[in-house]
Amino acid sequence: MNAVVEAEGLTKRYGDHAVVDSISLTVHPGEVYGFLGPNGAGKTTTLRMLLGLISPSGGTATVLGERPGSAAALGRTGSLIEGPSFYPYLSGRDNLRVLATYANVRGSRIDEVLELVALSARGRDKFTTYSLGMKQRLGVAAALLQDPELVILDEPTNGLDPAGMRDMRRLVREMATGGRTVVLSSHLMSEVQQICDRVGVIDRGRMLTESAVQDLRGGGELIISATPADTARDRLTAMPEVEHVRVEEGVLRVRADDRHTADITRVLVTAGVAVSEVRRDTRQLEDVFFEMTGQSINTAKELDHV
């Protein structure tokens, strides 16, 4: 499986300060990849390097197998970087027309993308009259104009009200249907948790981890309420699929792969153990993030409410 985006040791320095410090990441086809990190972590700089807007100080990257910023890569990539930037004296439709002409996209596609982002009714209005949510949606429409294989969105829900955020998240999920790959950056952990398949966590220019969201959250144990607990513990300890069992506050905490949950339950029931609850102790992405970055939970709440 060829990666859609692949970066190795990507670095951007301004003087002695490394804004992005040897980041490596891989984005697979068809996934929604979340680039998670606090403000100033280096997310936008990394995305700009992937689009060829900024030249890296070191490292290598390919986008759709091509050099970042090359015509071959840009022709198959749509993007919205650091907020929507359009001509204020043109209507939304005319702004898209300019970009369609630039990119050699047929005119009828403009109507399609306006429809997709629910802006058809306001397409002929001047861009300056748009609300922030509408401007963001126009930015997404512009990103989709070339019907790209890869969409890169930088903080797409920034500044939106709750309804706007919900609409934008739905739009991002819809984008990913049909095999399209989406890379989005965000400092909102709940957002990334909701819409991303995999996530790269970045802080102070360094990539802390890159993993499936479920893997990050699902590192927790199975919690089993069973009686008698001692019998249950003995049975589970004997199972090769179970890595570790302990009894804590009257419940069993079991470390085992998710796919063995059904087997574990069956073994306990067969042994005459009464099982009243089996659940995975999944963590919130927020907890995982602050574990990694060592920041306080108060900062987490501040970040999520920016």
């Binding site: 700009r48 689009l51 060829g52 807007l53 930037s85 001509y87 300019v98 990119a103 512009a142």
Partner: protein, 283 residues
């Protein structure tokens, strides 16, 4: 090549819908009409023989007739229309940085060189149209004056008209490209406009005046100034005047050298703009 053509089309689409472009064109036309026709004609009608540097009423009237169309149209290009063209160039190129649309353009398929080349081509087309419009207004007004005053309505020869049109277009293109390169290098429109206008209307005149009077060592510098060469090119393509030459029109350098110098300015400006936009990050 098709990429550059597409960018040119898109940029023309933008420019035609940009109110600032129309305001600049209207200002250029208005200045041209007021200073080349309205004021001289009012002077003639008022009978004040000393209104325009002691010229006789007949000479003043003759200066407004169709035969003087080239002079009256491009006479103001070295300074006033040039300053407006510089503003247009700075707005067109620097505005992309101010609005942040440069990143939107640079993430489309055409490369940065194609984008810049297409933008310059669009600028050249718009300026050619502007010169044609100014010639058109001049033709209408001068013909109306000639008919109203029972004077000859003969226009300059086609070759003279074409020469005047080409010279006017090159002068405006040169000033616009200076505005454009300032817009790209300084990444905005306000500072380039301020610096450019101060240069066109102030510093050039100051250097020219100093070189012509107290400090002749400045003559070599004066002779490579964009405004001086623009004025010299105008001087080379217009017939000898019956009244005082418009501001900025001079004979400091000969027409051939002025043509080469202005063309060199255009090429250098475009090259610097391309070099700068290719080399620098879009942040």
């Amino acid at each position: 090549m098709s990429e550059i053509f597409r960018v040119t089309r898109a940029e023309l689409f933008k420019l035609v819908r940009r109110p600032a472009a129309w305001v600049l064109l209207a200002t250029a036309v208005l200045l041209s009409q007021v200073f080349a026709y309205l004021i001289p004609y009012l002077g003639y009608r008022g009978g004040g023989s000393d209104m325009l540097d002691g010229s006789s009423p007949e000479e003043i009237l003759a200066s407004t007739l169709p035969a003087q169309l080239v002079t009256n149209t491009i006479g103001g290009f070295p300074v006033f229309a040039g300053a407006l063209a510089l503003v247009l160039g700075a707005l067109m190129f620097g505005g992309e940085y101010g609005w942040g649309t440069i990143k939107t353009l640079f993430t489309q398929r055409p490369g940065r060189v194609s984008v810049l080349a297409g933008q310059v081509a669009a600028l050249a087309v718009v300026l050619a149209s502007s010169v044609a419009i100014m010639f058109g207004f001049g033709a209408i007004t001068s013909t109306a004056i000639a008919v109203g005053e029972n004077e000859p309505t003969a226009w300059p020869g086609v070759l003279d008209l074409l020469q005047g049109f080409a010279a006017g277009w090159l002068i405006l293109l040169m000033w616009a490209c200076l505005g454009a390169v300032l817009g790209v290098v300084l990444r905005g429109a306000a500072l380039p406009i301020g610096l450019g206008v101060v240069w066109v209307l102030g510093i050039e005149n100051l250097i020219s005046a100093m070189a012509g009077s107290m400090l002749s060592a400045l003559e070599p510098l004066r002779d490579v100034l964009p405004g001086v060469n623009a004025g010299s090119l105008v001087s080379a393509v217009i017939p000898p005047g019956m009244v005082e030459a418009p501001p900025g029109v001079s004979t400091s350098v000969d027409g051939g050298r002025a043509l080469i110098t202005l063309t060199a300015y255009v090429l250098v400006c475009v090259a610097v703009a391309i070099w700068s936009s290719r080399r620098r990050d879009v942040v």
